[in-house]
Point group: C2
Chain length 272, copies 2
Amino acid sequence: MTKYSTRVPACILLAGGVMVWVMLHLSSMETPDFPFIYVITPTHKRPTQKADLTRMGNTLRQVPNLHWIVVEDAGVRSPLVAKLLLNSGIPHTHLNILKPDYCKSGCVARGSEQRNLGLDWLRQHRGPLDSGVVYFGDDDNTYDLELFEEMRSTKWVSVWPVGLIAGRWYERPVVHNGKVVGWFTGFPGRRFGTDMAGFAVNLNLILANPNARFVLQGAKSGMQENNFLNKLTKLEDLEPKANNCTKVLVWHTRTEKAPLNKHVKDNVDIEV
Amino acid sequence: MTKYSTRVPACILLAGGVMVWVMLHLSSMETPDFPFIYVITPTHKRPTQKADLTRMGNTLRQVPNLHWIVVEDAGVRSPLVAKLLLNSGIPHTHLNILKPDYCKSGCVARGSEQRNLGLDWLRQHRGPLDSGVVYFGDDDNTYDLELFEEMRSTKWVSVWPVGLIAGRWYERPVVHNGKVVGWFTGFPGRRFGTDMAGFAVNLNLILANPNARFVLQGAKSGMQENNFLNKLTKLEDLEPKANNCTKVLVWHTRTEKAPLNKHVKDNVDIEV
């Protein structure tokens, strides 16, 4: 499952005195040369929130050395998300920040304030000696486990295709001789024609560039990723992953809204 | 995570001579008193199929003693699903059957032919000495891992709530003194007011009742589950799970259709 897993034979002496030989899988051991993946996930209250976070957690739980930074668009951290994260067994940080007033009626940069708070947390709690990779993973996308092992070796900024996006089967970086030279995208004219789900950044690059943040006010639709990456790298320095950007390992799925217009009150209080 | 997991302290002698003490998790050991869960999943070709099966597989991979029976609504088994199942690492059976002609223009009993084929496979390949539980799990639902440990002890037929269904936060069996006495549902008038995701059946009950199948022709919308359970059990014999049916551990989520009306041809062939 992971490139970094190792099998070693080991003799196990059980408490009762029985001795058995087994193969040990050391994939989830923490080692200094095994960088942490920090997944920053903005989330907001809605009927499908717990379902979406549940299945995303089911996926992330299997990724070794992963730290999940979940940032609620809310004035306070909700017990629902807190309990879900605790039960997930995933190393995590639970944050919250309300979207600014000028975004209340809808904002093109949805989730950006939450992503910025995740970046702030990393800048405050991690230092240049920490080895890691930062990824912005929305709670309704679909992730193949292989994606995380692809991004783990990111030296600066890595990129890859994203499936089911912008009315297309996929968008992807176009690679020539191992270098990114352009984008197969429905929204051309951007230097970095990628969705939020299509790139990862080395932690040290985030720490060394405190101005790398998402801009909310005056932001144009679809330009968030481009503007963010412009502060960090150049096109020719991008690291193509997923077999030179020819494999779809993440899908921009959306969960249908659950209308709940027919709910009637029950005599018990059940969390959904 | 699982009721059946056990932690035992063990001394591990690594090949290099280093000795360490660890806690061993024995949750995934196969033992005769640890029944298999057979999940029957109908699936059909659509843009989000691989994404949906990928995240369902990410969940099922963590359930010990689980066998995934995936039945395609297709004339032949697709390489996409075959490869996905192989890579999932989950014990599985891959089947296919095309929906009958009278269902081509839409059928109220969608997926029923595929579920029947899954039942046929169990009746042909499992016997009364096999201990197991049968569950019909659609590929776009969301599952908490706890659901599977709840259903594993099913003696006859067990039931529980289903979230985000029929315009409601949830539907659920109503339990009084540990017995199911009715249903909190938006579609009353059925003896068994449950969705496909809300019950499991002991394997031996399936084997002992070869007439327990889903009826397609003349079937009324929403009556499939009721008609199937009518052949197997009585209301008073249902086993309520999930804390007397007060916990939502499965959500009837739906993935938004991906329109792909803007796709243009790429110069490589990429599976999505």
